[in-house]
Amino acid sequence: MSDLRYTKDHEWVRIEGDTVTVGITPYAQEQLGDVVYVELPEVGRKVEQGKEMAVVESVKAASEVYAPVSGEVLEVNTVLSDAPATVNEDAQGKGWFVKLKVTDSKQLDGLLDEAAYKALSDGH
């Protein structure tokens, strides 16, 4: 059973054993507007929690997507190259960005649960 968590930077994190799938939340895609380009990391790259992992661009501006936990990039969503609008259409499903192998599972405990994330995004 997958476990869905969130970050304060509006990323969702689906935990599946020692790997996670990461994307931006429906709230984030709504704030961004139409996504026109996504820059994804190379498979094999090591990412550090809180540091830039990907870039998502709307018509008006580029936004950074941060690694929610430290790990190694296992897979990236190549669909987004030709169909960046998938992020708007299905942010929490087909619009996923990256799958990571988690190096420090303790970092998963620090992620927000659904209630905490909802409180955060409702407060905006």
């Binding site: 139409d34 026109v36 380009y37 820059e39 018509v59 008006k60 501006a61 580029a62």
Partner: protein, 378 residues
């Protein structure tokens, strides 16, 4: 109330934007709609397919008048390198204020109107971000030569797109006779307006000045036409960038001359030769000797947009220029940009590199516009 929005001005259409679900953002000291629920991409594409209505009331509107057309036009020619003396009634020209170095202080549109109430006068539209300085500039230089009236009680709407003409012809039949860059008084649904057939999208369309207290009524009338949808400033920017049109503050500034900016076409031959405007000597030198840099279109070859301030390098990695406007063009379905490069590298087809997030992305210098203009000529 949020302290930031407390000091922002509102246009007469503010409440309408909120009613339509606009996302409001600060722009040039005003709360403006960046997009409506449809979103920037949809709004942009709708404008090029049908007709879009923009609120541009934040821009400055000014009336200039003197004892005769020759007098007011001659006065304005002291500040702008255009032929205003030769401007016929009902016609409009694009120009700019230059400074003593030949740099551009603001770009603007000037129309000559003759009507029963006011007589023969000039009607000017200037950028929102510059309107305070522009009024000061006019007053400091021309106060004793002409009457300068800021039309602060008027709104400005733009109706743009291939079906804008049909909409206007239905509501104001006299508009059908107007061609690109003409101006006149129209009654639209019974509402008195000053209209010009021009705009900032590359499409056919009109800019419509109306009394502030009739602006909402006019906007609702236009939005009730089935071709028309509301469009925000986000799509206004992507439309004008595709059309190769400059944004003051980005593509043209006091640090760029009209010659460098490839806007010499807006300077009449008589003015080139005779000068009589600030910076004329500098521009004459540039026409004589050429300029070190030139404004060009830049087309990234990949999918990544390159935004303002991105460095442009030649194929050896040497920096040769900078992007001044860049983003995504919905009608070309890819990234587009405008910037300045060394004149030696400015030929269309020249390969360049764009330094984006530490990577050198391939691009080409291209001629502007990215989308052909579809103005309604005679």
């Amino acid at each position: 109330m949020d302290p930031i929005t407390e000091s922002l001005s509102r246009t007469p259409l503010h409440d309408l934007h909120v009613e339509l679900g606009a996302k409001m953002v600060p722009f040039a000291g005003y709360e403006m709609p960046v997009n409506y629920p449809a979103g920037i991409l949809t709004e942009h594409l709708h404008c090029r397919a049908a007709a879009g209505l923009f609120d541009v009331s934040h821009m400055g509107q000014v009336r200039l008048q003197a004892e005769s057309h020759a007098a007011v036009a001659g006065a304005l020619e002291r500040l702008c390198p255009a032929d205003f003396v030769g401007l016929q009634p009902g016609r409009q020209r694009y120009s700019f204020f230059t400074d003593t170095q030949g740099g551009i202080l603001d770009d603007l549109m000037v129309s000559r109107l003759v009507d029963d109430r006011r007589g023969d006068h000039l009607f000017m539209v200037v950028n929102a971000a510059c309107k305070v300085q522009d009024l000061s500039h006019l007053r400091a230089n021309l106060n004793h030569r002409c009457e300068i009236t800021e039309l602060a009680d008027r709104a400005l709407l733009a109706l743009q797109g291939p079906l804008a003409g049909a909409v206007m012809a239905r509501l104001a039949p006299e508009s059908a006779a107007m061609t690109f860059m003409t101006a006149g008084h129209l009654r639209i649904g019974g509402i008195e307006c000053i209209a010009t057939r021009s705009g900032y999208t590359g499409e056919d369309g009109f800019e419509i000045s109306v009394a502030a207290d009739q602006a909402t009524e006019l906007a609702r009338l236009l939005l009730a036409q089935e071709e028309v949808k509301p469009i925000g400033l986000g799509a206004r920017d992507s439309l004008r960038l595709e059309a190769g049109l400059c944004l003051y503050g980005n593509d043209i500034t006091a640090a760029t001359t009209p010659v460098e900016a490839d806007l010499s076409w807006a300077i009449a031959k008589r003015r080139r030769e005779q000068g009589g405007f600030p910076g004329a000597g500098q521009l004459q030198r540039q026409w004589q000797e050429g300029t070190a840099r030139k404004r060009v279109g830049i087309l990234p070859e990949g999918k990544a947009p390159a935004r303002a301030h991105t460095e442009i390098a030649d194929s050896s990695g040497q920096v040769i220029g900078e992007i001044t406007s860049g983003g995504f063009g919905p009608s070309v379905n890819g990234p587009i940009a405008m910037g300045y490069v060394a004149t030696t590298q400015a030929a269309a087809g020249t390969s360049v590199q764009l330094l984006v997030r530490g990577k050198a992305l391939p691009a080409k210098v291209v001629a502007l516009p990215f989308v052909p203009h579809r103005y309604r000529r005679g």
